[in-house]
């Protein structure tokens, strides 16, 4: 199977409107959160790309389509794109809810996840000949999109593709649904810190966020001195829709599949970017999986949800874009300021950014429905 080379990467998150801005804030150890105020005295923790937007669904509903266009623009593509692999959890839910709260009828065309192709077809270099597929599998969707792209591009002899994961899901229905399963916290004015504290003893659950990332990938680029995806693994836990078994067995299996496909030994992994959603279950399961596969000498890790929350389906490719940036920049960022990173001895905090050369990065992710995916990025 051909490796896929990442020619360019883009992102938008609550820490910045483009990858350079987000990376600069991450290097500075910054983190962010705010609140969304909804009718009926419902106030939730949130991390928004546009502060205050989630409090007004009519404003918020416009961000999904406009950010898709913006992210492709950030990729600086100057040739025809053969395929788009689009990953999401909730798709254009905000547009649909906006119609509902205006008292309008919902159009069936808006309900169709496949119709995101209409947004892409408005973008330069993406035409009616571009193959477009949506992967609506939630918090692992971006990873699954990369895994699918790698195989389908090889099979169909597709040379170039955009892989994007994006969610603007800070809607009333989503806030209340996640609140019902205790995934999110109601905002409290007395709180002085973000609830998103992965790999800390005192965790606060996940910080619901929005945003997305995009990659422009090629199977045979003219410049091969760029990070490439060389291995991918994915399994189902068959355990629970939202709970993760803390023995880490499913995560471990996905890592082993990815390493096997990349033909990389566990000891050769020199950096891990974790899913690190900020829940105790996730932390324990991921940590155990790393111990089982890599052993006690766990390499440096990054956990970006402590910086800017969890953008559901959007998170995967934001994190992969940041990892791509880290490899090219040769710098590892500090852990977010104010987050002690004290849950496990083998994953200590870093106070400052430092020079860092990495050749083989492991990326993990877990999602609703018991999906666990891992990939290997080499440079």
């Amino acid at each position: 199977m051909n490796d896929i080379y990442i020619e360019s990467a883009a992102a938008r998150s609550p820490l910045g409107n483009n990858l350079d801005e987000i990376w600069s804030n991450i290097l500075a150890g910054k983190s962010t959160y705010s609140k969304a105020t909804l009718p009926g005295e419902n106030v939730y923790f949130a991390a928004e790309c546009e502060e205050g937007s989630a409090s007004d669904i009519s404003v918020y509903s416009k961000l999904y389509s406009s950010t898709i266009v913006d992210l492709v623009g950030q990729l600086n593509i100057d040739e025809h794109v053969e395929a788009v692999f689009f990953a999401t959890a909730v798709g254009n839910l905000a547009e649909i809810e906006s119609d509902i709260y205006k008292g309008n009828s919902v159009s069936g065309n808006d309900l169709d996840f496949a119709n995101v192709k209409n947004v892409f077809h408005e973008i330069d270099h993406i035409t009616s000949n571009t193959k477009i597929i949506t992967i609506p599998t939630g918090c692992c969707a971006g990873m699954q999109a990369i895994g699918l792209a790698r195989r389908v591009m090889d099979q169909r002899n597709i040379k170039s593709a955009v892989i994007m994961s994006l969610d603007f899901g800070l809607t009333p229905l989503a806030f209340s649904a996640f609140s019902m399963v205790n995934a999110t916290k109601t905002f409290n004015d007395d709180t002085q810190e973000s609830p998103s504290r992965p790999f800390c003893k005192e965790r606060g659950g996940f910080l619901f966020a929005d945003g997305g990332g995009a990659l422009y990938v090629k199977t045979n680029p003219s410049n091969k001195n760029v990070p490439k995806i060389t291995g991918y693994g994915c399994v189902s836990s068959a355990f629970h829709m939202i709970d993760i078994c803390t023995d880490g067995a499913s995560i471990r299996k996905s890592i082993e599949l990815a390493l096997d496909e990349a033909k990389v030994n566990p000891c050769d992994i020199d950096h891990v970017n974790l899913h690190a959603s900020g829940t105790m279950q996730n932390d324990e399961a991921e940590y155990q999986a790393l111990l089982d596969v890599i052993g006690e000498n766990i390499p440096d890790i990054t956990t970006y949800k402590g910086n800017h929350g969890h953008a559901l389906g959007g998170a995967n490719i934001i994190e992969i874009a940041l990892t791509w940036k880290m490899l090219l920049d040769g710098k590892i960022p500090p852990t977010p300021k104010g987050i002690p990173f004290d849950a496990f001895e083998a994953t200590p905090p870093r106070q400052e950014p430092r020079d860092f050369q990495s050749h083989a990065v492991l990326k993990t992710a877990s999602g609703f429905s018991g999906i666990h995916a891992s990939l290997v990025m080499e440079y």
Binding site: I57, I100, L111, P136, Q144, P172, A238, M241, F368, S369
Partner: protein
Amino acid sequence: MCRTYECNYINGQAVFNNQNNEEQILSLQSVDELIGRRNLSKISTATKIAGALYEKYNLDEYIREAGGNPYDTPIVISNRYANWDYVSQDVFSDISMTIESTNNYVATAWFPATIQGYLTIKYGNKGQAITLSTTDSEMMVSSIESMFNKDESGMKTGTLIYGTYESIPERIAGNKVTNIEPRTFGITSVFTHNDCVETIRDTVEAHMVKYNNVTK
């Protein structure tokens, strides 16, 4: 050899068809009984149909007969319209009422990936599973081909479950959904490693034809 099973909700009844095109009509209550009372309040109609087809046609057994392992069989689900039927009567033009009416299972029942989650958890299947939304049949064919388990020489092994499940409600928040025909249907196909790409292509077309005339 690929086998395909189908269920369509027509006039308040569930019409099942097996690979020999033998039709059987069940009441919706009988479909519920195939699922079991414990899960009924937690899942959407499309998920229910996926489970009912699995139970009614004893797919575990067919997967074993066909040389697959039901605990490690890849799943490819097509779902384009999420599971709006689950929340269609619990959303309102008033945001506060929507928030108050949200139940404990919306977070898991609404998502398109719910169906793969239900099948993998219910049947203990730890294989790779994915949900896709596309109108491009060739991309679906390639996705299915790519999802098969492979041996060391890259040859397909075992079986693969391919299912298309939708339940498109007539109304959301009291208003009629426009530009669409409300439909409830499900198709499950089980491919074996011997199925050629033409068989997969024909089967994908048979699944996609269910979307004909859904949009107006």
